[in-house]
Assembly symmetry: C2
Homo-oligomer: 434 residues x 2
Amino acid sequence: MSSSASSDKNRNECRSPADLAARLADRARRAGLAMAQVPGRVRTDALVRMADALRRDADAILSANARDLADAQAAELSAAMVDRLRLDPTRLEKMAASVEQIARQDDPVGQTVWSTVRPNGLRIERRRVPLGAVLIIFESRPNVTSDAAALCIRSANACILRGGKEAIHTNAAVGLTLGDAARAAGLPEFAVQVVTDPDRAIVTGLLSAEGKIDLVIPRGGESLIRAVVQQSRIPVIKHYTGNCHVYVDAAAAGIADMAQAICVNAKVQRPGVCNAAETILFHRDAAPALLPRICRALADAGVEVRGCDRTRELFPVAVAATEADWRTEYLDLIVAVRVVDSLADAVDHINTYGSSHTEAIVTSDLFAADAFVAGVDSGNVMVNCSTRFSDGGEYGLGAEIGISTDKLHARGPMGAADLTTTKYIVTGAGQLRQ
Amino acid sequence: MSSSASSDKNRNECRSPADLAARLADRARRAGLAMAQVPGRVRTDALVRMADALRRDADAILSANARDLADAQAAELSAAMVDRLRLDPTRLEKMAASVEQIARQDDPVGQTVWSTVRPNGLRIERRRVPLGAVLIIFESRPNVTSDAAALCIRSANACILRGGKEAIHTNAAVGLTLGDAARAAGLPEFAVQVVTDPDRAIVTGLLSAEGKIDLVIPRGGESLIRAVVQQSRIPVIKHYTGNCHVYVDAAAAGIADMAQAICVNAKVQRPGVCNAAETILFHRDAAPALLPRICRALADAGVEVRGCDRTRELFPVAVAATEADWRTEYLDLIVAVRVVDSLADAVDHINTYGSSHTEAIVTSDLFAADAFVAGVDSGNVMVNCSTRFSDGGEYGLGAEIGISTDKLHARGPMGAADLTTTKYIVTGAGQLRQ
């Protein structure tokens, strides 16, 4: 960074983690207040420069990544983890292209979401404004660094990014590149701060910086999210993985091929992601005709079927499902199958065992579709299409910072607009309250 | 209540506070899921019946209130507290009229706030849906019971209402009236639950019912709010009182009368409320002409002026202000006055000492107004009008459940629409993810 940062570095060495956290938070607060006044075109220009800089600094970033990969192999991390960590020219180009795509998205800041003129002549406007400072805590994928920084800049927020210690050299290199490009474009210093000190006490300090940091988004496994929720005194938006359902309604008999295609696509097209289906529910009237052929198609696609007693009568190959299966997010080629007596029972099952992420109904009955949509307490409800469409890109929202399974502030795929709050602006000509 | 409730009552006697809390939360969760399917016209009818029932049961409610007042006098509560607690026929009629007004408000549930059709033919809709179950913890004003219940029904949420122990008989009577009317209109049992057991351990239990209760709103003094935030594992929306500012800009010289009228109105029209002004900031170029006459007008209205050194040069009657004055919400006829060197310094002062509630600028300069609006990190910004307009009724939002000083989910006056979340509904005809 700049020379002042390097002289800072010497001073840092005698600082405690709590001091460092307080300083990161203070800087983010000030940068956030300054960001609120940076015009959208300047932020767009910064994003374009950041994308260019990722391409220009490819060699430095890839060699930093090589150090992380060597450390990972020495530490005998799993092949899946090493793969998530790995950058290559293609993956780095994807990171740059994603930042460019965010540069082209509409600027949410300054949009008027509601307005009225009152009888006394006051003009009331509710306008989107940035949140301020956002802390993102994530695991090993290095692309989160650039995506999260870009979404925060699109929404005029300052950000603090804290990635996994496995990716520390990569994140430091990406952070240096992004930070330099952002400052060169005229963004406030410290608009993007990447924490590369692996000390967990810094995270603890950041999570208690209420009033300075406005929002925490943990991205990663459930244990990371739970640890953040436990510690944080700042609002957290959670992105738990999904225990998603497909419900094949009584009125699906006439659309058997569609029901089968949706069940198979929802389960097998990419089983390791949060919007893949984990349980399929059949209405008892649809089960005799549809359950055997759909379970057969799933088994043919390599899926292990675990069923309730009624499922196993119709599809004896199924393993017996236990209570635990209804709660499990397999993220694998396994599916739980249950026969229910009614749509209301399907809704009950989902609201009891689900994770409020994404549910689908297959039906030709309009009233059944409406009842299912109103009844399931989930952020995304699919009518006659695959659960796999639950995604910011598929919704046309652009890049997403995650899929919120919370109900407050943001629910479902969370894009740049969900990183804003609103402000009421009341314009008068001397009005007084009577 | 019903006979099952009275047999429940016997069983309750050996239940622990934690059990009781769990049971209240379970019932609220179930009632919330059922409420999501109750049509708006049924909820409107319930609100009309609730207003009628408050009038019909006036004698019972007023005699319950008389018991609370007698207890309050015996306990030697302050006159202000006793006044807040007191109901009379006029105040009870106001409660009923407020419920009727909420019945006439637009139903937020089911509104589509965003939609798109994707190239693959999927129709994506983001629709307002209820949060589920809302816990409202409040102090002695009995009208909060009916207002909060009505706003939750308007937004199709189940609610748990826990008022102060001083108002326990009044709240029990109001709760019985409202609950009976709601059930008679066909709302789910337990849509409105009033907690009348004064045991604080029940509140502790409710605050840990994550996954069952979706939102907590504490309404009352800062110590109540801090205690709730400290304990809660459920998202809390805070409504701190306001440390509100009026900034008299350099370009206010031509509108001196307006500047004076706004400052006086913001401070004295009702000094004890959260949107009254506490500090007035003068640009140094405006101070010589405006500060003395405005401070004089405030003093003439009975206000004690506490000023910085530069203020006291221009208005020697002022008491010397200390650092603590900039942070204080007097809620009284006292005002802090400071001269600043620039609009940026005014913004800095507000972002340093303010409570993010409501700020006003008086100016004829368009660029100054825009810079102030973008710069202050507050939920409500007034341009050339009194801070006292920061209010749901004045904004045309209808009744409010409070004025949020938080940034997440709801900011500023919070009406029925802010008690909803959204759900993405994706409608297809068999689309699969490639």
